[in-house]
Symmetry: C2
Subunit: 568 residues, 2 copies
């Protein structure tokens, strides 16, 4: 393709509303344009990269024996009503009515539809195991769409669903997907980590996430270099750490603490350490209010807590007026003593002695609190966020933490949907059994953003060959020089004939502009045809390398073909 014929509207300025590098670069390199919050169009380069990611996913899914099909995106409400998810998705689902006032939504995920398809179309147990997938546009009305295509409202996802006769079959289907996912992300050039993930809320029996480590990732990962343990924050088990507390059974004491609300203020006021306090947070959990307590130096993991409570919607902090009504005090003085709602207490809090809590009275705290003497928790469980320095639950060595971008998720669903919708089969002996399911997702558009987050420098993207929109860009330094242009054309044609996707920068721009654009759009290899072309010499530069090399034309072409093919 000739650059003069290609719509690549690169930007020199950094767009003001882009916060992370992949978003900035995809805008600057003319890959995407915003149409509305979380909704993008793909310009030619962005679309090519996206299609390459799709094709890698498709090839590896097919290789793993999965069958591709394609569901609609506009779905009648009945699909989700049978499983109860029409309500569960809440505001996250785009809902609409057709001209006949019938309820529809834009599919956020397709478990129900695949289950129903198998109910309708599979006629014999002999057809299992079966894994079906689609690469399809999904819609989620995110509360905070951001980071470009990383968290958007219209995005391409690969979702796959496996159907097996028994747990052993599911294990095997799951393993195949695990391996396919490893191949997919490896081919995409992503540096990824596989972490144990939470499966509580969806009722499954096993779950792993494929994470691309990145400071801009929205998911916390806890990992252990010593034993290889890795889990996301929701799943990571927290081992209670021991702290020193005053010995003995000291008397409960109410202390006046005017204008002291935060843990920092309390620490200053009492002249002690944060771990001597226990904080009490009031949440709205579906249609009830509950209290949760963690140590003063800890944070509540709301997903762990949500799963523990078993509520459907995400937890919400109680409104201030409700805090006042429930605690008889302003926000900042809540505590478990005399509180008339369920109290969930973290494992570490259960180990504390003679500690300090809010008194449910504005301007007062209790000190020397002891559990079971002064209040009785309704539930004691692991409800906190793991932190750097925590103990590895597997080997006891110190845990490290980092942030990750979730690019894939594999999940043993078990019988959640097959039971809810009635997906059964009759086995060899005529006995009716429930089909066991797994589900497997990849955020295809997100993969491109993740690849950029891991591969950029000051000048732009440094895309892996497999995801780059074109492999090689041939740049004549001066396109008024006939010899340079002729040679550049020859190299360009030669590469294309050998199956290399080459760009020719035939625009009448200064060489500096062409080099800047080539770097920005992340083409893996640049061949520059300049003054030495009459000696048969061109400049050969890998995008990831600092410096160009001079090569003969033949050598440059040969090396280009070999480099690209070996990196596909």
């Amino acid at each position: 393709m000739r650059m003069s014929k290609l719509l690549v509207p690169t930007l020199r300025e950094v767009p003001s509303d882009a916060e992370i590098m992949s978003h900035k670069l995809m805008l600057r390199a003319g890959y995407i344009r915003k149409l509305a919050a979380g909704i993008y169009s793909y310009l030619p380069l962005g679309l090519r990269s996206e299609r390459k990611a799709e094709q890698i996913v498709r090839e590896e899914m097919d290789r793993a024996g999965a069958q591709e099909l394609l569901m609609a995106a506009l779905l009648p409400s009945e699909v989700y009503q049978a499983s109860g998810r029409w309500e569960v998705f809440g505001d996250n689902m785009f809902k609409l009515k057709d001209r006949n006032d019938r309820d529809f939504c834009l599919g956020p995920t397709h478990e129900e539809l695949f289950t129903q398809t198998v109910i309708n179309e599979v006629r014999s147990y002999k057809e299992y195991p079966m894994t079906l997938y689609q690469i399809q546009t999904k819609y989620r009305d995110e509360a905070r769409p951001r980071f470009g295509v990383m968290r958007s409202r219209e995005f391409v996802m690969k979702d796959a669903y496996s159907f097996d006769k028994d747990e052993k079959g599911l294990d095997e289907s799951y393993r195949k997907m695990y391996e396919a996912y490893c191949r997919i992300f490896k081919r995409m050039g992503l540096d990824f980590t596989i972490v144990d993930a939470d499966s509580g809320a969806m009722g499954g029996s096993g779950s792993q996430e494929f994470m691309v480590k990145s400071p801009v990732g929205e998911d916390g990962i806890a990992y252990c270099d010593a034993c290889g343990y890795a889990a996301n924050y929701e799943k990571a088990q927290c081992i209670p750490t021991k702290k020193e507390y005053p010995e003995g059974d000291l008397s409960l004491e109410k202390v006046e603490t005017p204008d002291v609300h935060t843990i920092e203020e309390l620490v200053a006021f009492f002249g002690t350490e944060p771990y001597v306090f226990a904080k009490t947070i009031i949440y709205k959990a579906d249609d009830k209010y509950i209290a949760a307590m963690v140590r003063g130096d800890r944070e509540i993991n709301e997903i762990k807590l949500k799963n523990l409570i078993g509520c459907v919607n995400d937890l919400e902090l109680a409104e201030p007026f409700m805090v006042r009504q429930l605690t008889n005090a302003e926000v900042g003085f809540a505590g478990p003593i005399g509180l008339d709602i369920e109290v969930y207490v973290d494992l570490e809090v259960a180990q504390m002695k003679n500690f300090i809590i809010g008194a449910n009275e504005t301007g007062y705290h209790y000190k020397n609190v002891n559990i079971n003497r002064d209040f009785t928790p309704d539930t004691v469980a692991d409800i906190r966020v793991i932190t750097e320095g925590d103990i590895c639950p597997k080997c006891g060595k110190p845990i490290k933490t980092t942030q990750g971008i979730e690019v894939g998720h594999i999940f043993k669903l078990g019988t959640k949907y097959s039971k809810a919708l009635g997906l059964n089969y009759t086995d060899e002996s005529g006995e009716p059994k429930v089909v066991i399911m797994g589900c497997y997702g990849i955020g295809v558009t997100r993969c491109i953003a993740a690849a950029i987050e891991q591969n950029y420098d000051d000048n732009g993207m440094v895309l892996p060959v497999a995801l780059a929109p074109y492999h090689v860009i041939v740049v004549p330094v001066n396109n008024k020089d006939e010899e340079q242009m002729k040679l550049a054309e020859e190299i360009y044609n030669n590469l294309n004939e050998q199956g290399i996707e080459a760009l020719l920068d035939d625009r009448s721009e200064r060489a500096g502009v062409k080099f800047k654009d080539a770097d920005l759009i992340g083409i893996p290899l640049r061949i520059v045809v300049g003054k030495k072309c009459n000696e048969g010499i061109v400049e050969y530069k890998l995008r990831k390398d600092e410096k160009p090399e001079e090569k003969t034309i033949e050598q440059a072409i040969k090396d280009a073909v070999s480099y690209i093919k070996s990196n596909l």
Copy 2:
């Protein structure tokens, strides 16, 4: 692919709600399944065919120099408000609100967005001509979705838009698309006709439709075998035919016609021919009512009339209470005399003399009516439907009519959108000019249905090689026979290695079932490995041929490869 691993849920029964063959066969062959009215999912075979159609379109668009990009389907209302089409689309557009109560729709067509993209991204007149396209899922809330994927509410469309500096440029861009469309439909194996199409309503200067002739087509085509003229009904120019009427200036006479409403009843009552009557129909045209008159043996072409009036919405027949209010009579007695609304009169009516019309009084008609003496038309124009036997407007020979399925449409938009949205450029001399646009659509999913309508027999689909989901099916007659199975596997592997997409029917079904399925799903070539395999003989049968041939294995493979490759 092995049939035992492929989800192909064929049906022996004809689904009750399917009216046309392509719909019946796509359901029976396990290509598609209905999710809601006009909304389908694609099972593996259907998806493969659809993707092949997409790929043919993509290759030919690329070859014609068009650039692929991809817009979102979920679009903010502002996109359509600027052009006024947010209202124009009316009930045909799926509209919804996001969680922040902002208006969105599911894009029915993307003229505005492409225009806006070019406004935003193109920086110099040197970038024109430019043709951009996408292959994308479109949404239209059809009043009567039907015929399977032929008229569905979620469908894949290729839409392209050309941007030129002047009319000459547009002519050239249009010509390129015309040629690309010819190649596309030829490669798809479609027998198509190119007809002149109406371009009035959209304000363009030229328009052609690519029609697949078929009795189930929803569009009427008028054509002339003598000179090659072809136009759709909306565009086809009607030459007034002459009829004999009573001579002289006879006196207007009011005749009592109790219980006589229809033309048939009038013909019987007056004992004369239908062409002696002129019928008057009252329409609602946007926010006004109008009357239209054609000869008693003619039908009004509502599209011609709509374009003539210049109204935005489709015409609707006036409600009976409005007919009563406007004519002071029951439905069936409307006429132009004394009618206080605009009257549109067909060219043929203007030639009539001493004819019969409704009297605007229940139970009465006027006879011996003469235009200009008894009433004055507001507009005289061609507003009727062309019919078989009409005169060709180009050569005067008799016109023929048929039905067609519109698979493509190319259209000189002109400056409609560039003016409305402000797409200008500055030319070489620094002068500001308006960009001239064209738009070009292909109903990709509809192409598959059209191909089936033209290619089926009693046993199922007879798909063109280029659109068939697989090229060859290898069928061992008895898959308990080891030799047959081994040989079938060898042929299957050999074909796949040569780039032929082969299926192996390895299911433990009776041979009759396998043959029936192979025919139903329309695989172009079947190779049967039966008893003669120990002599090295197999059965070679083209789906379109009646009878199989016996061939040696080597010859069968060689012929298969050659047949498939020459038909791709």
